[in-house]
Structures are given as C-alpha cells and as structure tokens.
C-alpha cells in the first residue's frame, strides 16, 4: 500500500504544479490584458491616462458619421454625454446610426477616442448589455429597442451556438 500512497502523492504534486502554473500564467496575463468599459458619462468624469486600452460604448448619434479617406469619425452617446470616435478601416456591416456599438481603443490627448476595433453584432435587434446599462444609468431607458421590438416582434433569437 505504501506504493499506492507514493503514487497518490505524485498525482497530487503534479496536480498542484499544474494549478500553480495556471495561476502564475493567469496573474501575469491579467495584469495587462483586462480592458475596462466606460460610458461617455463615465469618461467625462474620470481621469484616464491617454493610451490606456479601454472599451467604450453607446448609441451612434444620428447624423454624426463622416468619412475622410479610410478614416471614419462618429459620435457615441449614452443620451447624457457624448464622445467623439475615430476609426481607420471598414466598419462592421451592422454599424448604423442609432445603433448600439462597443469600441475598443484608447483616448487621444485631444479627448477623441481612437478605436482599433468596432464591435457591432450579427443581429440588428441586439443591444450590447454594457450599452443598455450605460443608457439606463443615464436615465433614458425605455426597454430594449422599444420601437424596433414592436415593429418586428421577432427575429429575437438566431441560433449560433
């Protein structure tokens, strides 16, 4: 039986080593790869160091989208505050004025947000949860896509596991 105990000890040590490696890797990785989300209102209140990677989100303000060459500029709002965003590249297919989006990037010294990725969704009725919360916090919430929802009553879920 002593042999069995040795083997069990060996398993436990191996398992402990795996867990320790995992934790060490996770802690190293977390340090610089967690990206916080801020609404335009929070950004106006908060001191953010320029260059820090963050996510922002809100509704694309109607009439704010303009393009200069391959650079697009638009304004994102949570209905209380707004934030100017610039992006170089091709916006996702579902990017539209009035639509909720989330963008990842950093603040320039000028206060403009330089987006490196713009996330819009596969489904036009989808509202990113952060954006919904940001608008709720700003006090202008009337249920998820209240107008759009009545119109279509549907397309509510499309299965892509």
């Amino acid at each position: 039986m002593a042999k069995r105990k040795t083997q069990r000890l060996y398993f436990v040590l191996l398992g402990g080593l795996a867990v320790a490696t995992g934790i060490a890797l996770v802690l190293t990785a977390f340090e610089d790869s967690i990206v916080f989300f801020y609404s335009p209102s929070e950004i106006s209140r908060q001191e953010l160091s320029p260059g820090q990677r963050i996510r922002i989100g809100g509704l694309v303000e109607t009439g704010s989208v303009s393009a200069a060459g391959e650079t697009v500029s638009f304004t994102v709002t949570d209905t209380a505050e707004t934030l100017n965003v610039t992006y170089r590249g091709i916006l996702p297919d579902l990017f539209r004025e009035g639509q909720g989006i989330v963008a990842e990037g950093y603040l320039l010294a000028s206060g403009v947000f330089q987006a490196s990725d713009v996330l819009a969704k596969h489904d036009e009725n989808y509202m990113p949860p952060e954006v919904a919360d940001a608008i709720k916090a700003a006090g202008e919430w009337r249920g998820e896509n209240s107008a759009a929802k009545q119109e279509t009553a549907a397309t509510e879920s499309i299965a892509v596991p």
Partner: protein, 661 residues
C-alpha cells in the same frame, strides 16, 4: 404532416422520456429485468416521436407555412432550399429541437445496437439519457414552442438573417450539437457506472466510440465556425477568443482530455475516477456553453439578441445536471476499485500529463471567459478580457504539451525508456533544426519572425515524430514491402487514426503560427484604375458595379492581382439582402495552396468615386482548414476500429456479476 401533429408528438415525448428515466432506474435498483427492459422500447419510441416533430417542422419550413410563427420569423419564399432547411435550426426553438432529436437518435442507437452491454448498465445509461431528454423537452415545451401558430397567417415570412445564409453556417450548428450531445452519452455512461459502482476496461470501450464521435464532430463544428467567421465577417481573422467561440472550445479541450484518459482506463484500468469526473465536466461545460450563448449575458462579437428567461431555464438545468452528478460522484467515486500503479516514465504518465495540460488550459480559458461576469458580480467594474490574456496563458501551456505529444505515443505501457525513444527521434530533431533555420532565413530575425519560425519548428517536431512512430510500427523500409503492407493492415485503425489526428494537429499549428506571425494588412481608399501592392501581389482595382442576386442586391468590386505571370481575378461584394434588409460583406479570397489573398470592399463610392478597400495577405491560413479536417478524419478512422463497434466489447465472464454496492 402538420404542425399540431409535431407539437403533439413532442408533448408525448416528454412523458415517454420520464418513463424511460424512472422505470429502468427502479428496475436496475431492484434487479427487475422486466422494468429494466422498458428502457429500450422507450428510447425507440422517443426517437420516433421527436423524429416526427422534427420532420413536421422541417416540412413547415420547406412548404413555407407562415401560419407557424417560427417559419414566419425565420423564413421567406425567395430563400434557396438549403437555407429553408437550415432555417429549421437557424433559430432558438428549432435548434433546441435539433438538440433533442440528436439525443433521441443516440439513445435509440444504444437501445438497438447495445446488445453486448450488461443489462443494468444499459438500463441506467438510457435512464440518464431519458432524464436529459426530459429536461430539454420541458425547456422546449414550456419556454420555446417551435410550433406556435399565428392567425391570420402572414403572406410572406421575415426571412433568415443573411449572415446565416451560408453553407458554412448551415452545417455549423448540427456539427456542434452532434458534439455536445455525443458528450451527453459519455456523461450518461459515467453516471450509470457511478450508480453501479463499477468502472472497468469494458466500460471504457463502450464510452470511447461516443467520445470519439462527439470529439470528431465538435472539432469539425468549431472549424466550420472559424472558417465562416474568416470569410464572412471580412475581418481577416479566424479566431477572436470571443465568449461564444470559447463556449465551444472549452468542452473541446476537456473532451480531448477525456478521449485520452479513457484509453488509460481501457488498457490499464487506472485513472478511473478521473475519467468519470472528466465525462461529467465535459458535458457540464457543453451545457454551460449552451447557457452562455442562449442567455446573451456576455458581450460577444457573435452575439444575437437573446431572451434572459430562457437563460435562467438553462441555468437551472445546468445546476441540476452538474450538482446532481457531482454529488453522486462525491458519494460514489471513493468506492470505485482503485486502479493499477504506474511508473513516472510510461505511456500512462504521458497521457496523465496530457490531461493535466488540457484541463489546466480549459480552466484558464473558462476563467477568462467568465471573469467579466465575476468582476461585475463583485462590482469591480465592467471589463472585458481580450485576446492577449488568452494568448499569454494558452500558448505556454500548449508548447510543452505538443513537445510531449511527439514522445508520448512511443512510450510503452507500465515502464518506458526515455533515452531509447529520444534516440529514435534523432531524425525528428534534425528536421526541426532544418525547418527552423529555413523559416528564419526566409522571414527575418524580428521577434515575430522568431515566434513564427518556432511555431513551425514545433509543428515539424510533432509531424515528424508522429510519422516516425507510425513508420516504426509498420517497419517502413525495414522489411519487404509486402511485410510492411501486412503490418499496415494489421495495425489497429485506432493507431492509424491517432497518427492522422496528431499530424493534423501539426498542420493546424503551422496555420496558427504562420498566419499570426506573417499576416499583412493594408487599408486604403482606391478609385478605379489604382494599384496597391501587398506581399508582392500587385492588386489593381478595376471598378465596381451593382448586380442582382436571388434575394439580394450586390455592389461587386472587380480587382485583379498579379505576381509574376498570370493575373488572378478577385470580386469582393457588399450585399444588401431584401428580407430582412441587412448588409453583408463577401470577402474575395484567392487560395494559393499555402496562403490566401483576401480583399474586402468597404464604404463608397465617395463624391470622387473612391472606395475603402482592405487587402490582406494571409499566409498559412489554408493549413488551419487542412489540419482541422485531418483531425476530424483521424477521429473517424479511429472510430472505425473494430473494438469500438457499439456493444462489441464484453466483460470478462468471471466478473459478470459484481457484488451489490
């Protein structure tokens, strides 16, 4: 066939599933053969009933019966037939119906072909299947009825999301579900074995075909999803470490571990309770994946609008399945007969270390995926965990695992000789050195170049050592060709399958490292007649025109790419579908065996006739698809091994009647 018949059949399937779960469980406990015998016919009846429901819904979609709400919401008469059919599972209700249909078919397969299974194990496994079926059937009947009618019936349907009108995505959900549901079989067998208090080599052989089939389907399913994201979204990327992608990848990692630990149970009767635990965890993670996708609580680039109440229902199912099975495990696992001992350097140890890497990797991916939820619950702020996290934790775990993958298959059971194996692998080491040097010479010495070359060298190690192992078994070039051929035929299919799958993984690694290191991207605005150079290809924009498709209008750009001689035509599109009105991007991809040239047409034209154009050079991306296909194919070869025919293995007669526990 009409929708009411479908609904009726579905409603009838629920009590049948309950009978299938309760009666045989009691029968197995009381050793009452008559009660246990209920399981088989009940499983067959369940398949017929759910099959009827599935056929009724499919028929409603094909016939465009818009009086059915689900058809109205997700179909349109102008849609091609393939997408009418794929529309059946292209929505929440239908996809759940597909889920239970697959479950019922698998259950019926065990009932019909599992003659070799001991009666009590078979009865209990089918009973657990019945329980899972009952859970999902009530989910469908109480929250997501696919047969809901609308009156008056609309004349036209609302159409399917155009992003889903795509061959890759038509088959992506069924493949994933075949994987998830296949793991439910391993789960059912695990719970049945715990109830019985007995796990042995025969048990492992019964579980292995299901695990293998599930793993192969899941591999191909994840591959299809990745392929689709690559060509349909127009971002030039194939994996984003997005929550929805991770949801299918985490069960894949633990499922791969299960596949390997079951071998140890089969050959050496060791790691028994660990294997049982893995079977439970893998299916639980499949359920968790379903929950994450269905509830929409995580921000994902692949997110679709979802209904939180349904999420709660899946969460309750998850809690019952995980809580119940883990409690049972905690009570019963200590009573399992302990397995055999083994030496630190042996095949068993190799497989154990493989399991440690895979499960640690699965845990770290799970943590990164769920961390935003944890942080929100703890009020640490809203945050997201991006690709850098996953790359930092995942790659260091995979590199040593792949190094071991080269050695492991050569190790003998019980006790092995490491020096001897490394001696046989001299050729592989030489190949690694040569390939690494060539890759560096062709790319450069920047950090990305070294990383890319190292990835390819790692893949070379795996590929060549897998080949050496296989060649050693068939004595390639060592004996007469007829002798080698005889050995090739005599070698179990499972061995061939392993070699093919491991080589597929090597090719996949080439794709991952090469495309990550050497991708080139260029974004610019172009007017007709202008040129841009990407990776030596001179790409000319010849203009764009409107064309009419069956159910969309498209702005099609015409480009020609030239490198050296012939010119390659490229026609990216920006489509606007009629129903529902939605824009999609169709990237133009030219595959030249080892690399893709990838062009996307963006916004335009501006007042002076310019379009935004994104051009990528994607080296080694095709290797991803070759590798994934090879891995899936390896699984299928292994599945065809005669040991894995359902019910073929029999328990040793001496142990046929275990003591009551």
């Amino acid at each position: 066939m009409n929708p009411e018949l479908g609904l009726f059949a579905l409603a009838l399937a629920l009590p049948v599933a309950l009978v299938q779960s309760i009666v045989p469980l009691i029968g197995a406990q009381r050793r009452d053969a008559a009660l246990m015998a209920v399981a088989g016919p009940a499983a067959l009846a369940q398949m017929l009933l759910i099959g009827t429901a599935f056929a009724a819904l499919t028929q409603a979609f094909i016939a465009s019966d818009f009086s059915v709400m689900n058809v109205y919401q997700n179909s349109h008469t102008a849609k091609p037939l393939l997408y009418k059919i794929s529309g059946v599972w292209g929505n929440h209700e239908g996809s759940l119906l597909l889920w239970v249909s697959i479950l019922a078919v698998f259950g019926a397969a065990v009932a019909a072909f599992g003659d070799g299974l001991p009666d009590r194990l078979k009865a209990r496994a089918l009973a657990v299947q019945g329980l899972i079926g009952a859970g999902f059937l009530s989910f469908i009947l109480f929250t997501s009825n696919p047969f809901l009618r609308i009156d008056p019936a609309p004349v036209q349907g609302m159409g399917l999301n155009p992003l889903l009108q795509d061959p890759g995505l038509a088959f992506h959900p069924p493949m994933l579900y075949l994987g998830y549901v296949g793991f439910s079989m391993a789960f059912s067998f695990a719970v049945a074995a715990l109830l019985e208090g007995r796990v042995d080599a025969a048990w492992a052989r019964w579980v292995r075909p299901w695990t293998l089939a599930a793993w192969s389907f899941l591999t191909v399913g994840i591959g299809l999803g990745s392929w689709w994201a690559y060509y349909e979204l127009g971002w030039g990327g194939w994996w984003f470490w997005d929550p929805v992608e991770n949801a299918s990848f985490i069960p894949w990692l633990t499922g791969t571990a299960l596949l390997h630990s079951a071998i140890v149970v089969e050959k050496r009767e060791a790691l028994k309770s660990w294997t049982i635990l893995l079977a439970i965890i893998t299916f639980s993670l499949s359920l968790l994946g379903t929950f994450l996708v269905r509830s929409g609580i995580l921000t994902s680039v692949h997110a679709f609008a979802a209904d939180p109440t349904r999420g709660v229902f899946v969460l309750v199912l998850l809690a019952i399945a995980v809580g119940g099975s883990l409690t049972l495990y905690a009570i019963r696992a200590p009573t399992l007969e302990p397995g055999g001992l083994f030496a630190p350097v042996s095949r068993e140890s190799g497989l154990l270390i493989n399991n440690l890497f895979l499960t640690t990797a699965a845990a770290t991916v799970l943590l990164g995926t769920l961390y935003p939820l944890i942080a929100e619950a703890l009020e640490l702020g809203k945050l997201s965990v991006g690709a850098p996290y996953f790359n930092t934790v995942f790659i260091p775990l995979m590199v040593p695992m792949v190094l071991l993958m080269g050695i492991g298959p050569m190790m003998a059971w019980k006790r092995s000789d490491l020096a001897g194996i490394l001696g046989r692998l001299k050729g592989a080491l030489a190949a690694v050195a040569i390939v690494f040097a060539i890759a560096l010479a062709m790319s450069g010495v920047a950090i990305v170049d070294i990383a890319g070359a190292a990835g390819i060298a790692l893949a070379t190690w795996l590929f060549s050592s897998s080949f050496i192992e296989w060649a050693g078994r068939v004595r390639l070039f060592k004996g007469a060709p007829t002798d080698t051929w005889r050995r090739v035929r005599a070698l179990p299919r499972a061995s061939h399958g392993m070699t093919v799958a491991h080589m597929g993984m090597a090719i996949l690694i080439v794709g991952v490292s090469g495309s990550s290191a050497w991708k080139q991207e260029n974004i610019l605005t172009m007017a007709a007649g202008e040129k841009v150079t990407v990776a030596g290809y001179e790409i000319t924009f010849n203009g764009a025109e409107l064309i009419q498709g069956p159910n969309y209008e498209s702005l099609q750009g015409t480009f020609s790419a030239k490198r050296g001689g012939s010119s390659i035509p490229l026609t990216p599109e920006r489509r606007v579908y009629d129903q529902p009105v939605q824009q999609t991007t169709e990237a133009a991809i030219h595959t030249a065996f080892w690399a893709d040239l990838y062009v996307v047409l963006g916004d335009g034209p501006t007042a002076d006739g310019r379009y935004v154009v994104r051009a990528y050079f994607e080296p080694f991306v095709p290797f991803l698809w070759y590798g994934i296909l090879m891995m899936g194919f390896g699984g299928v070869i292994s599945l065809s091994d005669r040991r894995h025919r359902i019910g073929a293995p029999r328990r040793a007669p001496a142990a046929a009647e275990p003591a009551e526990v």
